[in-house]
Amino acid sequence: MAKKENFVTVFIMGKGYQVPAEATIMGALEYAGYQIIRGAGCREGFCGACATVYRLPGDYKIYTGLACTTLVEKDMWLSQLPAIPAYKTIYDINKIEPNVAAVQKLYPEVFRCVACNSCTKACPQDLEVMDYIQAAKRGDIEAVMDLSFDCLCCGLCAIRCPAEIVQFNVSILAKRLYGKYLAPKSKELSNRIKEINDHSFDKEYKKLISTDKEELKKIYYKRDME
């Protein structure tokens, strides 16, 4: 094939293809003719289905990225990871508490963290992964929740971790513990639920439901706005 303008060569699992220079890795795979089955979910950077590892010429480093949001580079050598083997502990959220004991019991390998920072370097979301694992060791559930909030569970941290920790499952545990036990509770919510259970809105609903379309339209266009 003649070399086209604005095209670069990338090596998909070692085999060279010419693809548009501005393509994302996912776009490049499809341009080359791959029908993706594993390795694409949301295609917008939200689901973590598309973890990819790559190297660049003349550079010893291994890079990580999301195929759907990372742009190709000239002579990049890439491979998508079809799935990340990960370990999730089964637990009953009602029977644990938001403290270090939960972490110790469910994910004891967290305490093997050697603070090498490989996880942080691997994170395509630029999260401070090592910092949240350190926070988990201290039982600081809120910090784990906050630092790992934007985690996509792509698994790149887990695959790089020499301590074999599955960071993203620790993050999910901490978020659930925070949401359930530590987040301040809302009075207005429990009040509203009580009102509903007491059938306080039944009359108003009945009236609205029995109003004909034209009349309802009038009420709608006249309604007041906050």
């Binding site: 917008e44 934007d150 659930r176 949401g179």
Partner: protein, 555 residues
């Protein structure tokens, strides 16, 4: 980075910003909202659904004779992937209480509720569990929990947004159960955006009369769905999740009750039968059909499969003539064309502006109206901005949000959006985004009642695959609520149903009858459905797979 030629237009946006800020600050509407007549006019002239060729008559099946979206009609008038003769239905490969088709939000919620009443289920899902539109919602979920709000206010907003075509009993169920869903999710561990005193942060959305959009930063969908999935995975004895195993047809029994489905392993290409006492379709929407050639915000597996498998079995569809285009899909840079820019941006004060930096529409009209106004501004009034790849769009002024809500607000509230653009050298705290409507949501679907029952006994439907809740236009935040409310309802009623139903002999006869109907209607087609996955292989590659006959080891 924006190309040089756009800088002048961006400068105009900056120049008008102070004046727009003052007006927004004053609390008055920043642009007059449209009247009923004005809405109708802009919809008629500019909404893609109102173009003649956007719809056609469907010739077979339960909705025969109705005018529906062309691409959906083509999908429905297609052949099945299977030949019923090849299946021995006397020995199903799996047996369970409930087959849940679709591992998104509605499916996960249904599985949790079923497991709590001791009922077993199998989740058949196309990609990984959670590869779903539910993972992607950013903006939030509506629920009427504030004092100055009420569930009936929410009801009225949803009815108006849906042009009063919504089924009232469904809207009541959704709005009245909203607050309980918020609590249920919090008890499962969802982290909501809250103020220090525990009260919820609530924002406006398009078409809301009260601030009731609750959120988890701009990862609302991911936070909720990952919580639900984690809970499902904590019930391995009750729920069996089969990934990369989409359902390609339903099974009925001889009396026409739904009795499970036929699953297809995408990797080994084997088929498996699942016999189930009840079946719940939660397959989500159809953005990847790229209706009218539009880019889409949807996930990779959103191909409307639930519609066709239900239709072949006699399931009735509702409002399949209406498609939702989200007003703000991104158009620049090219790599993220079609990606969603959450409506929460406008909820927080962001404004749509034309090339001269002027507002031309109230920023929070219902979606179909807002989208149509944007199309009008670009197509008729020629006030859009062209991108280097010949797309056209208008500005969405995000820096204004920082002025209105304080410095750092975008980074805290919109980390995903900020990340999306900074990768391409665009800092949305300082520069606006370029946007155009993008194919977003399947307004209609398989018709349900308030128990999530379809017209086929034993077949329940919940979430985006269902029809009736949102009429012909859904409001922001109502579909996250929808999949939670109705996912739970479907789980509950299907569970109860499994305790009394008796199934007869399994059958795939409906596939044969459907084929006959296709033939009788004189429909000649090579298409097969469900579509399962879109193909983005370029033309010149597609011309080369020239295998004469598929035999031997390699396909």
């Amino acid at each position: 980075m924006y190309p040089e030629y756009m800088h002048e237009s961006i400068k105009k946006v900056t120049q008008t910003r102070n004046k727009r800020y003052e007006l927004a600050k004053s609390g008055k509407p920043v642009f007059p909202p449209m009247s009923s007549d004005e809405r109708e006019e802009v919809l008629n002239k500019f909404h893609p659904d109102y173009k003649l060729e956007s719809k056609r008559k469907i010739h077979i099946g339960p909705n025969k004779g109705e005018s529906i979206t062309t691409e959906v009609a083509e999908m429905l008038e297609s052949h099945s992937r299977i030949n019923p003769k090849s299946f021995d239905l006397s020995k199903p490969d799996y047996e369970t209480d409930i087959l849940i088709i679709g591992g998104g939000g509605a499916g996960a919620a249904a599985a949790i509720i079923a497991s709590q009443s001791g009922v077993k289920s199998i989740i058949s899902t196309k990609l990984r569990f959670g590869d779903a539109n539910s993972m992607m919602s950013q903006g939030g979920m509506q629920a009427a929990i504030k004092k100055i709000d009420s569930p009936p206010h929410h009801y009225l907003d949803a009815m108006g947004g849906g042009h009063f075509d919504n089924k009232p009993e469904l809207v009541r169920a959704m709005t009245e159960k909203g607050p309980d869903v918020v609590k249920w999710l919090e008890e499962l561990g969802v982290v909501w955006d809250k103020l220090d005193d525990g009260s919820f942060q609530a924002l406006h959305g398009g078409g809301t009369s009260r601030k009731r959009m609750l959120s988890s930063r701009d990862y609302t969908g991911a936070i909720i769905l990952r919580t639900l999935m984690d809970e499902v995975r904590n019930q391995p004895d009750k729920v069996n999740v089969l990934e990369f195993m989409p359902t390609v047809e339903l099974l009925l029994d001889e009396q026409g009750k739904c009795a499970g489905g036929v699953l297809y392993n995408l990797e080994t290409e084997e088929y498996f039968t699942v016999k189930a006492k009840a079946t719940i379709i939660t397959t989500g929407g159809y953005g990847r059909l790229h209706i009218r050639g539009y880019d889409t915000t949807n996930h990779y597996g959103a191909t409307g499969d639930g519609l066709v498998i239900a239709y072949r079995a006699g399931g009735k569809l509702l409002y399949m003539d209406s498609v939702q285009y989200h007003p703000t899909g991104s158009v620049f840079p090219e790599q993220i064309a079609g990606f969603l820019i959450t409506e929460k941006i406008r909820g927080a004060g962001g404004q749509p502006l034309n090339k001269d930096g002027e507002l031309f529409v109230f920023p929070r009209e219902p979606r179909d109206v807002e989208s149509s106004a944007i199309i009008r501004e670009c197509v008729e009034r020629k006030n859009g901005i062209k991108t280097p790849s010949e797309r056209v769009g208008i500005w969405l002024d995000s820096p204004l949000i920082e002025m209105l809500q304080g410095d750092g607000y975008i980074n805290k509230q919109f980390p995903a959006m900020h990340r999306q653009f900074i990768r391409y050298g665009i800092d949305i705290t300082k520069e606006p985004m370029l946007i155009y409507p993008s194919l977003h949501y399947q307004n209609g679907g398989i018709e349900i009642n308030e128990k999530c029952e379809s017209n086929i006994p034993g077949l329940y439907v919940a979430g985006e695959a269902s029809g009736g809740v949102h009429g012909r236009n859904r409001l922001m935040g109502n579909s996250v609520l929808d999949y939670n409310v109705f996912g739970r309802i479907a789980g509950e009623y299907a569970s109860t149903y499994t305790k009394s139903v008796k199934l007869n002999k399994l059958s795939l006869d409906h596939i044969n009858s459907y084929e006959k109907e296709l033939k009788a209607a004189g429909i000649r087609t090579d298409l097969i459905s469900p579509v399962l996955l879109p193909s983005y292989t370029p033309e010149d590659v597609r011309k080369r797979p020239l295998t004469a006959k598929y035999e031997g080891t390699l396909r």
